[in-house]
Amino acid sequence: MKLTRLLTDYGMLIVLGLLCAFFSVTTYSDQTPKGAAAAKQVADSIVQQLGPQARVLIVASEQPDDEAFVAGMTNGLNAAGARIVATVKGGPKEARDALVKMTTDGGKVDAIACTQVTGTWLVFADLKTDFPALGNPRVILPPSYRWPNFLKSENLMNIANQIAVIAIVAIGMTMVIITGGIDLSVGSLLALSAVLATRFIRDYAGGLEASLGGMLPACIAAIIACGLVGAFSGAMITRFTIPPFIVTLAMMLVGSGLAYTLAKGEAIYQIPDSFVWLGRGADIFSLPNAVVLMIVLYALAHVLMSRTKLGRYLYAVGGNSESARLSGVPVKRVLMFAYIASGLLAGLGGVIMASQLKSGSATYGNMYELFVIAAVVVGGTSLSGGEGKMLGTLTGAFTIAVIQNGMNLTNVESYTQKVVLGLVILGAVLLDKIRQTR
């Protein structure tokens, strides 16, 4: 009894766990440390093997990761008291030149610190015969290890970052679906918000030179505009009792059309570099800011749905709106809230997307409404209303993201991915049905 309840209540969470385990196993492979992490390992092993007085040559290529490697090496060796004879940044030719120069200068080297790539250069293959004068230096490179590609922290961050927008929009969608409605306009609102925010910045906040004081009002204005569209949908639904499907389908077309008109069919990119803070920055525990925002919003939404009067009303309206009305629930206001919240969150999603891509375009958010609805449904919220959980939606969003990411890592074709994703959505709803007939 307990076990079946656990299985049904947290079924999707278990499925998510199994998916993660599956992709961890299938992507288990050789890993090469890079950048600062690699530098630390190499520096430590030099100090350990050759003592702190070692004379070291650092060889790195011109990749960004290698910049970090050089910086990390320099810091690490300096701290240990080792002497850096020279630092090479470039290709094998530069490395050979440096070695030749050192031989002619009569210098000695104890260790050559390399990355995984530079360490395999032929120039270091037979140092004893090629450069005997250097004093038999050892080539030291970071050790490789085995670890699933899926579980690498960058990949996990990547998943969270990719799904953040959909997950945030899905909060509003969950509320709407719990009231027994649907909001098809969120994808278009995403685009509208991205275009509005970037246009406001370009036209009124100073474009490339815009300051925070200009960008913030621009983004807020874009989000509020989407909230107004949500309010309009809500008003049509409550005042004229037009089915939500029809109203939001209309608003989906209106929103998308407006976005294209406002963007004049092109991407708007005249925005400052600092605009990407929200979408690409990572300030807290190196978690991406969008992900932090997502976590905060889910926590708030969870409390709203499970602890407050408004949350109770949202469920009641979806469970039986007539009973709710006759019990004194302000049904129309509750519905208005749901659609406005959905609009605002879609607007926020649009701003995040514009920030991630550092531009605004009317093509954003195409088909997103379907992914958002899928996340909600996979998360166990019933489309007939009255039932569902915020954290279920978060699980649903992550399930979709993990499947997509895992399939990308295992080189599944994108067409096949669609088939799999479709079947997963079906399977999740089936799981829910089985739960209900119990």
Binding site: T308, E322, R325
Partner: protein, 496 residues
């Protein structure tokens, strides 16, 4: 009942649901041309037994025999195949289809793959002739009256040559006149050799139409007797398992000053210029035929529908009621006629249902005070003896009587001054009815006012201080001394 092989024999039927053993070895026999009354309180297992017979549930143990032959009852199809038709309280009709289309739904008469409409129509006409009634075959069923829809259900049963017809609370939504007509039809079916199982809470009807009474309690047979050899009180005692002195508890009437004054309430043809006053400590009964405009009137008072004109005053103060929310805040409460569709959110827990109209009070800065809510609800569960497994039980899983008690608890917690009870005991067993009557008495004794809509005349006469009779949207009569009124008096006003 034929002595030889019975038409239907159910033996040792056992059915369990998670946590409940609904049927614990029930027997039921039905002969040809026999009407058997199946009696019992809510939760006694009547509905479950009938669902087993209808194939909606499958028995865990036991045997069902038709004409002495064991027959499988695994699905509604099996049941239909065996000649059993179950007419549930909520009809199984597609509202948008005509009577003919509904009758032949799933058993269409076809010719070369096309529906033979003329032939279906002919057969439908013949079926209704057999029943001695006329139904407009072109109207969609939603536009037929409840009584007519019931006839369509019966015709549907006859269309597949059902030999056993189960009627679950067939009179619940009928006027007394329509019930008389139903009895004529039942007698006709009986003459044609059909066996009928009649499930009802209305004991008068049991005496009027049935041959034999079978009583269930807690999932077992507790008695069986020919109807002409049992008294009303014996029947009730068998059902509740104890002696019951009165159907209606006595109460000293203590009517005070006017409380709720309604004047010139109007909405279309349904409610026309209705005025009345309810006093402090008074139970005012609103009666009349179904469709007389009683429910429509109270819905206007409660703000559930918009009134075209009219004023509502409470304690002399004019109320601006434009929504149920306004009415509730003014101190009104409405127990709706239809608990399932209007009174409760069936999929949600009983606690959440209880809290719904009380959240303003039970929440602090928008946050629901869960502990407070649980404590209060626990108090009402005890006070009203609501049978729930725990506070998180889904409202939809309760019996009718317990559902009604949950709805009552909602409004008691709200401490409403004027309570409107729309058919408060419909579909509720005798024991729970009595408890609800006691509670109504306690409420008026505490100075509250009650407007009670009821179609059951004994209930109206037994409970009300004053009776208002409606007919076609208008108040057609008032009986100020309800205690000494007769059913005939009320009926004559209702048919005015």
């Amino acid at each position: 009942m034929s002595e030889a092989v019975p038409l239907l024999a159910m033996r040792g039927i056992v059915k369990s649901f998670p946590g409940v053993k609904a049927l614990r070895g029930v027997d039921l026999t039905l002969g040809t041309s026999e009407v058997v009354a199946l009696l019992g309180e809510n939760g006694a297992g009547k509905s479950t037994l009938m669902k087993v017979l209808g194939g909606a549930h499958q028995a865990d143990e036991g045997l069902i025999a038709i004409d002495g032959r064991a027959t499988p009852f695994h699905s509604p199809q099996d049941s239909r195949h065996a000649g059993v038709a179950v007419i549930y309280q909520e009809f199984n009709l597609v509202p948008g289809l005509t009577a003919t289309e509904n009758i032949f739904l799933g058993q269409e008469v076809t010719r070369a793959g096309f529906v033979a409409q003329a032939q279906e129509r002919e057969r439908a006409t013949a079926l209704f002739q057999r029943l001695g009634v006329e139904i407009d075959l072109d109207l969609p069923c939603r536009r037929l009256t409840t009584a007519q829809q019931q006839l369509v259900e019966i015709a549907k049963a006859l269309a597949f040559d059902a030999r056993i017809i189960v009627m679950d609370e067939p009179s619940a939504a009928l006027t007394s006149h329509e019930v008389e007509r139903l009895f004529v039809i039942i007698r006709e079916l009986k003459r044609q050799g059909i066996g009928i199982i009649y499930v009802s809470h209305r004991l008068d009807e049991i005496f009027a139409i049935t041959d034999r009474v079978v009583v269930l309690r807690d999932g077992i047979n507790v008695g069986e007797r020919p109807t002409n050899q049992i008294t009303r009180n014996e029947m009730i005692e068998m059902m509740v398992g104890r002696e019951l002195k009165d159907e209606f508890p006595s109460r000293a009437s203590a009517v005070g000053p006017p409380r709720l004054e309604v004047s010139h309430l109007t909405r279309g043809r349904a409610v026309q210029d209705v005025s009345f006053t309810v006093h402090r400590g008074e139970i005012l009964a609103l009666t009349g035929l179904v469709g007389a405009g009683r429910t429509e009137t109270v819905r206007l008072i409660f703000g559930a529908d918009r009134r075209e004109s009219g004023e509502i005053r409470l304690d002399g103060k004019l109320l601006a009621i434009n929504s149920p929310r306004d009415a509730i805040q003014a101190g009104l409460g409405l127990l709706t006629e239809d608990r399932k569709l209007q009174g409760l959110v069936l999929g949600h827990s009983v606690r959440e249902n209880f809290g719904l109209p009380n959240l303003e009070r039970l929440s602090h800065r928008g946050f629901v005070q869960l502990t407070q809510e649980r404590k209060e609800f626990a108090g009402y569960v005890e006070q009203l003896t609501i049978k729930v497994s725990d506070q998180e039980q889904r409202a939809g899983n309760l019996s009718g009587g317990n559902q009604q008690k949950v709805v009552l608890a909602k409004w008691l917690a709200r401490n409403s001054e004027v309570l409107i009870f729309d058919e408060p005991t419909r579909g509720i067993d005798v024991g729970a009815k009595f408890e609800i009557y006691l509670l109504m008495n306690a409420l008026v004794a505490a100075g509250k006012s009650i407007v009670m809509i009821s179609s059951e005349l004994p209930e109206v006469l037994g409970m009300a201080d004053r009776i208002l009779v409606m007919h076609e949207g208008r108040v057609t009569g008032e009986i100020t001394d309800a205690r000494h009124a007769t059913q005939e008096q009320v009926m004559s006003l209702a048919h005015a």
